[in-house]
């Protein structure tokens, strides 16, 4: 199942410091985790402009902020959430 980023979510992401224009799409599907429990796996596609060659703190803070905002939105759902990131168009 795939969800398009709705305007409310997009606005909340954009209103969080430094997050504007980083996210292009959010995909989600329910999978069983290692304990056999249902978990929503959220894959956040980042714009190709969000390009980093090596791990760094500044990018990490932005990504953890995005994860915080998206997970906050998912908190109303009855299953837990796992969030990961990918860059659009990445092979």
């Amino acid at each position: 199942m795939t969800f398009k980023l709705d305007e409310g979510s997009k606005r909340r992401i954009e209103e969080t410091n430094g997050l504007k224009d980083h996210v292009s799409a959010i995909h989600a599907e329910v999978q069983a985790n290692e304990d056999g429990q249902d978990v929503i796996h959220v894959l956040i596609n980042l714009l190709s402009s969000f390009s980093i060659s090596d791990p760094n703190v500044e990018a990490g803070v932005i990504l953890n902020n995005i994860a915080s905002v998206v997970r906050q939105r998912a908190s109303e759902l009855p299953v837990s959430t796992v969030i990961s990131f990918s860059r659009e168009g990445e092979e």
Partner: protein, 166 residues
């Protein structure tokens, strides 16, 4: 250098190996090292808080369970919900964003670590691994800023199962 710092450096090194054609083994180990860097960062801190006896601290750290830390992190994250769960009344509002970010990174990296170590059907891309190692690096920095807070103490006590499950 602490084990947590060494693991974080190792994760960065592994994520940057063979940039044109990275080996899946390197990328998987990078994810695992990134997760364990946060895990050891937190349990080492908790062990030092529980006892100043340096001979005891490794044994205290050994008693921590991954699931308990994840459950504690999820409870911290959930404090922003309309009806904050236990132990909301023990926490000072608002929860420091640094602590919330640490908890988010921990929960996600724990799941990704399982996939990296056990799910050989999944292919990891270097750019995605760089993102996740970056999240671990940020979590280390955030923890340094928030570790002295009362809310961080509650998080560690929850992780150690030293607070009741309400």
């Amino acid at each position: 250098m602490s084990l947590a710092s060494d693991l974080l450096d190792q994760a960065s090194t592994l994520a940057s190996l063979d940039p044109l054609k990275p080996k899946q083994a390197s990328l998987r180990r990078a994810i695992s090292a990134a997760y364990y860097s946060i895990f050891h960062l937190l349990i080492d801190e908790a062990a030092r808080r529980i006892s100043t006896n340096t001979a005891l601290q490794p044994y205290i750290a050994r008693s921590f369970e991954h699931k308990n830390l994840k459950d504690a992190a999820n409870k911290i994250i959930a404090q922003s919900s309309p009806q904050p769960p236990w132990p909301g009344q023990l926490l000072s509002a608002p929860i420091e964003p640094e602590l919330v970010r640490v908890c988010n990174a921990f929960v996600d990296l724990q799941s990704l670590r399982h996939q990296a170590d056990y799910n050989i059907a999944k292919t990891f891309k270097r750019a995605d691994v760089v993102f996740e190692v970056s999240r671990a690096k940020a979590a280390h920095q955030d923890w340094a800023q928030t570790r002295a807070s009362d809310n961080a103490t509650v998080f560690l006590l929850l992780s150690a199962k030293l607070l009741p499950d309400k």
